[in-house]
């Protein structure tokens, strides 16, 4: 890697399934790229985290959001809409990470300006590879907007 050691990328994972969150954490660690990950389990918490409301007053602004779509309370599309319509947050890349391959979900996500849409593979090797690649791509290969990270 030709870049000078970049600051670790800070991921926010919005995922209601604790086991899936655990799998993402494990796979991201395997990417051997410096990163930190915060996990919230529903849309309401995600918005509180991004607004730095209690109990997230000291939460750092994430560099990348990994967002599930089917979430309790406020669903993923609504969280996406919130991020992209909030000027201070709208430049954060949002990667939709979901089990849904439905066209309607994909269309809606892109129309709300999702930066990427990834369907969780059921197969372990592919899941593992995917999350590692996501970690590598967004931490190393992708250049963030100026003034961030």
């Amino acid at each position: 890697m030709t870049k000078n050691a970049p600051a670790p990328a800070h991921f926010l994972l919005v995922e209601d399934d604790a086991a899936h969150a655990e799998l993402v954490k494990l796979s991201l660690n395997d990417s051997r790229v410096a990163n930190t990950l915060d996990w919230v389990s529903d849309g309401e918490e995600a918005i509180r985290f991004l607004k730095q409301e209690s109990p997230y007053a000291n939460a750092a602004r994430p560099d990348i959001v990994l967002l599930d779509l089917r979430l309790p309370k406020i669903d993923g599309h609504e969280v996406l809409q919130f991020i992209k319509s909030t000027p201070s947050l709208s430049s954060i890349p949002v990667v939709i990470l979901t089990t849904s391959s439905a066209e309607v979900d994909r269309a809606r996500a892109y129309s709300l300006h999702a930066n990427s849409y990834v369907v969780k593979p059921v197969d372990f090797e592919r899941f593992h590879q995917l999350v590692r690649d996501l970690g590598l791509y967004w931490s190393v290969w992708n250049s963030p907007p100026p003034g961030q990270r």
Binding site: D16, D17, A19, H20, E22, L23, L26, S41, D42, R70, P72, K73, T99, S100, A102, K120, P121, V122, D123, F124, E125, F127, H128
Partner: protein, 384 residues
């Protein structure tokens, strides 16, 4: 005989036929009202069909304006005059709509108005042909309604398949994911995470089994009802309360049947499932209150019977009042439900011809209301 000779010899007979025969023919047509109007729209001839369709005899209508056959709304909006003007302007006017018989009953008609002119072009009046197509109209309406229902069902089915496949795929990701990690760990002779990973897998497998059971149950509820029998909801509820006595006592919940529930004609098993689900929900979400109360009540509202189940727990935020009925929708991640209970309840109520919704009463807590059409109420509540 040549062609022209035959036509010549037919001439006088045809004129005869046109004068008398055609008149006779028209007078006797029964499926169509065929009559004439003068230039101002007053009836000036009447046939058997007109009498059959509109109910008036010739004596009753001759000389009367044809406005008589229109509905009050159409008369007010000038429909009779519009028909005459259009026929005059374009040589023909065809209209469809509700018309009125003698006595006020309505029928759906298709009517054609044609102006009659003398050979010199003077306007003599109008010919009017009306057919009663009420049956076709109603069949068409029914067909349209059925088509719309079918389209609704298809959309519902699509959403169902999509949601169900998501719900079943999600635990598979967990199971195969942790299985993958277990294999990797085993290859490195690492065993410290075996039990943690196995727990995740087993939880996912149980969730999947529960989802499959729920889906099967839901698909059965969607089908036609079992035999409709009178079900005494009041007795049923008291029985369910006694079944759930351990939880009710544990959480010190007071159950209150404010007004006795009615006896409803329906599927006994499904109605039990309905009340049971609502009672379990109210116990689960109402027990957070310092002095939990679950209230059941039945009221007649207009042409339906409303039954309500109210708890005084933490309630449902207004933006989720409709979402709680969606399949696999869970407001509370920590709850042990799969998000099928209320979907099931609503479907049971709907298969009984009613509706179901949730409200947030001003006093706090959550209220679930279901309605039953009055023709399903065998007896309003009342305990001996």
């Amino acid at each position: 005989m040549s062609e022209s000779a035959r036509r010549t010899s037919a001439g006088p007979e045809f004129a005869d036929f046109a004068d008398g025969g055609l008149q006779q023919l028209l007078e006797n047509v029964r499926d169509y009202a065929v009559y004439r109007l003068d230039p101002e729209g007053r009836v000036c001839s009447w046939n058997a069909g007109a009498q059959a369709i509109k109910g008036y005899s010739a004596e009753e209508v001759l000389g009367k304006p044809y406005d008589l056959f229109f509905t009050d709304e159409d008369r007010r909006s000038g429909e009779p005059r519009i028909g005459l003007d259009r026929a005059l302007a374009s040589g023909r006017c065809e209209r469809e709509g509700w018309r009125v018989r003698k006595g006020g009953s309505r029928f759906y008609a298709v009517a054609i108005l044609t102006p009659i002119r003398s050979p010199s072009g003077a306007h003599l009046g109008f010919a009017k042909v009306t057919r009663d197509i009420t049956q076709q109209h109603e069949m068409q309406q029914t067909l349209q309604r059925l088509n719309a229902e079918l389209a609704d069902r298809n959309r519902e089915l699509e959403a169902f398949v999509y949601t169900a496949s998501h719900e079943l795929k999600s635990p598979l990701v967990t199971i195969l994911g942790f299985l993958g990690y277990l294999r990797r760990d085993a290859a490195e002779a690492r065993y410290d995470r075996v039990s943690e990973f196995a727990d995740h897998m087993s939880e996912a497998a149980s969730r999947m089994r529960q989802s499959i059971d729920d889906l099967l149950q839901l698909s059965r509820v969607g089908r036609l009802l079992g035999e409709s029998v009178p079900v005494d909801l009041d007795a049923l509820l008291r029985d369910l309360v006694s079944v759930h006595t351990p939880e009710i006592v544990e959480h010190r919940i007071r159950t209150d049947i404010a007004t006795p529930l009615p006896t409803v004609r329906g599927d006994a098993l499904r109605l039990r499932q309905l009340l049971d689900n609502l009672l379990i929900n109210a116990i689960k979400y109402g027990s957070g209150s310092p002095s939990p109360v679950i209230t059941f009540a039945a009221h007649r509202v207009n042409d339906e019977m409303q039954i309500s189940v109210t708890d005084n727990g933490k309630g449902i935020p207004p933006q989720y009042l409709e979402r709680v009925f969606r399949l696999f929708e869970r407001l509370d991640r920590d709850g042990d439900g799969t998000g099928v209970g209320l979907t099931l309840c609503r479907r049971i109520v709907e298969t009984h011809g009613g509706r179901m919704w949730a409200e947030s009463p001003a006093s706090g807590g959550a209220r679930f209301i279901m309605t039953f059409p009055l023709d399903r109420i065998v007896a309003s509540g009342g305990r001996p």
